[in-house]
Symmetry: C2
Subunit: 289 residues, 2 copies
């Protein structure tokens, strides 16, 4: 796991050089290179490995997913969105580079990610590269990540088109689960997996994504700033719809536990120490060892 | 020309349906469907036609370029950027949908454009589609459009890394010319043109882009709000670096005239009434008939 994180960091740093105008590349790199768990790229690489293929084929895709993730964080932190001053323990992008550059750095990451997939995937066929880009565009846009963010913002304003339960699931199926689905699906595509396998792993990724969001909501409730590196208790204070605010802490833990069990059931068919390690870490943190 | 504009409008409307969450699709469509000259998609389609290929192959790409163009307008108009309240004679996107939705609508257009190219280009080979997406990502990001916008913002703050002349050219080679280059290059790629032709047309597009920017700067100086549909004299009032502010009106007209002549010289080898019509319209407007 640590080794994979290090490899992802090295590739991110290598892929994104600093050109003129330096300010924008520095802004892109600033949030991208903040130390993180690199969970999404690691899961993409691990999917490739556990399906018997070479992870070196997957670094451009894995790094593109991290860039998309970071893009969404930079834009989410903007004053007109969540207005968050901290990210991964450091001042957020717009606090360092200004709002205009933060908007543009996000835009630039959003198009650099597919550019990277095209330019660095030498050992994949044209068909595979196009499939990867297609997955990227479907999950990154108004049918995926952005749909989740929009409904999240609407729900904060008290505007719900569906029940609170449906709305909350819609938000996080899109805002959170989508990136894990993208990571695992593209990993499976790079490994030339059959549709049946892709669909099964997609189910894993979807459930993992929801579990991860519940984990995040619970941590927001019970952690400190130093532990999370971002503003704490904000969701609670703003009356935001979360799994904890809607179901209560105990019920949220139960939901989390069920989803993690389902994930364990699916992944045990595959031989992956890393996925087991990730699932165990999340479970231990929430449910105690 | 009118016929092509109508076809572009019809395809834009058809390609982008309204799904849940409606607010984001409405925001995307609002600025996209404001009546415009559709210069970039028309030039893409006309390049395909004059090189002897079928324009029906090019509608997804042509519309993707308009989406990218509109994305850049929506983000440029934001309060943290140019802070413009009007666009094409109507309230700008963030005035209607709020800043958060305007940021997200731009993001969504930026990824919907390549998704559209992939999903609707049935009659192009996988290799061609991937080439188109590659051109799109190169020109849309920090090596193209965004580089121009960043240096534009920096120059407004009085920060120039190069001479004023070099800075102004850099801004508009990237901010303006890049979209015309993208339109014409991808048109040529769809028509399977040879590299020599692509390079010659790329030179045309580059010069046309600069001429178009000088045209825009001159119009900002001499027009009214009703004529342009956007705030007028803003560049002048903010002390912004423009071809008119740097070279004076007469010298700017001369530069414009030279570039248009060069464009005419290149395009006369090809049989295109539409390119000649566009060049003549711009020239007549600035230099008088």
């Amino acid at each position: 796991m640590k080794n994979l994180i290090k490899l992802v960091d090295e590739h991110l740093d290598k892929y994104l050089g600093i050109c003129y105008p330096e300010e924008i590349f520095k802004a892109m790199k600033y949030t991208l290179m903040l130390p993180g768990k690199r969970l999404r790229p690691v899961m993409c690489l691990e999917t490739v490995r556990m399906l018997g293929s070479d992870i070196n084929k997957a670094f451009p895709m894995a790094c593109a997913i991290e860039m998309l993730h970071v893009q969404s964080l930079i834009h989410d932190d903007l004053p007109c969105m969540d207005n968050d001053d901290f990210r991964r323990g450091k001042p957020s992008n717009h606090k360092v580079f200004g709002e205009a550059n933060a908007v543009l750095a996000g835009d630039a990451l959003l198009t650099f990610a597919p550019q990277l997939i095209i330019e660095k995937s030498d050992n994949l066929t044209t068909e595979t590269v196009l499939k990867l880009i297609h997955e990227y565009t479907k999950f990154a846009g108004a049918y995926g990540l952005i749909a989740g963010q929009v409904v999240d913002i609407e729900s904060e304003g008290g505007k719900l088109a569906k029940t609170a339960e449906e709305t909350l699931d819609f938000i996080h199926l899109n805002k959170t689960a989508v990136l894990f689905r993208l990571a695992i699906r593209t990993g499976a595509i790079i490994a030339n997996a059959e549709d049946k396998t892709i669909n099964e792993l997609d189910e894993f990724a979807t459930k993992f994504g929801l579990a991860f969001q519940i984990y995040d909501d619970i941590m927001d409730e019970i952690s400190t700033f130093d532990e999370l590196g971002k503003t704490i208790g904000k969701d609670k204070n703003s009356g935001k719809l979360t799994y904890v605010s809607l179901y209560g802490l105990e019920e949220a833990k139960k939901k989390f536990s069920c989803l993690i069990e389902d994930c364990c059931d699916i992944i045990k068919k595959y031989n992956s120490e890393i996925f087991v390690e990730i699932l165990n870490k999340l479970r231990d943190r929430i449910l105690g060892v």
